[in-house]
Amino acid sequence: MTRFSNAFSPDRAALVCFITAGDGDTAANLDALVEGGADVIELGMPFTDPMADGPAIQKANLRSLGAGTKTADVLAHAKAFRERHPDIPLVLMGYANPMVRRGPEWFAEHIADAGVDGVICVDLAPEEDPDLGPALRAKGISPIRLATPTTDGERLPAVLDGSSGFLYYVSVAGITGKQQAAIDSIEDNVARIKRHTDLPVAVGFGVRTAAQAEAIAKVADGVVVGSALVELVGEYGAEAPAQLRDLTASLAEAVHNARK
């Protein structure tokens, strides 16, 4: 069994939590997410030009780079996380340029060594998969793709081809942190996607509260929360872990019990 199939169990939805590496005390923040009940961790690789992100995650990227975060630091955070938490799936999320800078093989080898399970590369369309996908798959790392409200049935097979782990459904056509989509549209789209794949479908973008998370957990396999957590890191700095633990716990309770 892979860590992903353990995390996405058939009887309850999974909570997927995102923070940016190198923003605040990353180890303490990650531990707080796990203690709060996160089932999957997405660790953001900071980039100077996060063009798919809204203000909250843009600022987190700049805080991290401003504090001097290097690719080597991101890898070290991942590796240390894996040592502390052997069973929680760890996904790196970011933009193509930092991932391919030293070549896709270099990247795949080093993140495999760090114990990373999957990669979400926001600006690598399936059409450009050769830039990264083959190297990841050769090391047993899941390329996790995004589907959006604009991804129609004709295009879905191309998005799913070569992806594994789970599928990330971006519920709004927009950037991170913006308004959330209506639950009806999420339900329809998740059902539509599931006709094309057996992969678990996690839904994200704009999820901030336990009530929103609960509604989504009723109709999807996973709920992704990012900006709301990242904002706590920005606001509370060194005091962020306690805040992250509390918010994650309330989200986890809502997500895990949604279908009871």
Binding site: F47, T48, D49, P50, M51, A52, G54, Q58, L62, L65, K70, T71, Y95, A96, N97, P98, M99, V100, R101, R102, V122, D123, L124, A125, E127, E128, D131, R145, L146, A147, T148, P149, T150, T151, D152, R155, V159, V170, V172, A173, G174, I175, K178
Partner: protein, 411 residues
Amino acid sequence: MTEQKPNSFRNQPDERGHFGQFGGRYVAETLMPLILDLEREYTAAKADPAFKAQFDDLLEHYVGRPSPLYYAERFTDALRENAPEGKGAQVWFKRDELNHTGAHKINNCIGQILLALRMGKTRIIAETGAGQHGVATATVCARFGLPCVVYMGKTDVERQAPNVFRMKLLGAEVVPVTSGAATLKDAMNEALRDWVANVHDTFYIIGTAAGPHPYPELVRDFQSVIGIEAREQMMKRTGRLPDLLVAAIGGGSNAIGLFHPFLDDPDVNMLGVEAAGHGLDKQHAASLAGGFPGILHGNKTYLLQDEDGQIAEAHSISAGLDYPGIGPEHAWLKETGRVEYTSIMDGEALDAFQFLCRTEGIIPALEPSHALAAIMKRAPEMDRDQVILANLCGRGDKDIFTVAEALGVEM
């Protein structure tokens, strides 16, 4: 690179939008279906005589094409004064600074707004550096009655105030962007964020031959009117092709527009001029000279970046060249060796700016002043009967405040 020389330099990109290893479609999934739509629509438009007729008509009667081809006699003579015996090539200008709105940017905007209308889009967005592309976009939006939002780095809003006011007069909303260094790269990020959130009704008019496929191709095709006209005019006036083409490069649209129609003429050499800012060992905007291949803003190309792939801030005195990337076709033309690239520093461009003002009575923009500075070095090494053709792609009205400040003059 031991790449084999292609049979033609004019049949790129391939069907996936790649120029050799460069180009491509590196965008968020939300945009992919729209990019594919745009590609289909552009293919259809290219085959539609009505589209071409409308484009040509607007270029003639609204933009003022063809732009003149001009022999710069006094500029040529002045350079010959310090040239060795028998040296000092003739310098000719393709005068795209005489276009409506003052630069080549309008050629592309006419083409793209016609595509937007074909696709039924009702809202236009654009990014701008110097403000020339923003003004050209605001102009075509006014002409066709579409709302227009222009993203512009806050730094550029300050140093290009006259263009900001022009855009507002034309009815556009100018949004100052404060992220990063608040210049062109950041404006492009913000325009992409707007586009992702408004794909259903919004068309993004990109201002240079860069971005995801098919933008580099379609911008090049719309700007190729420059080279097509110049080739014809040169043949008619001199009965021969030029020996050397010279153009400044920000993203590369005026340069590729001039170069592309000549790429398969083996006797025509080409020189692209990047901005070396304070110097290649300091802050600059010369991505080919000082960058490495990478992925940004939808395409793979040469980028100014560090060893971790973080994008560096560019610097040039010219806002229109102040960008850490370059269009993918130039990256390919560099690797194949078909085009030579060089770079010019801020001070050299300023000198060339003043030199043209005094020798020809033409105030050039700071962008083509980089091309002029390169010619001032190159012409004296070439024979007197050789011909240099430069793209005078913009006029300098917008730059007089920047130049005054650089020269320590209070206005």
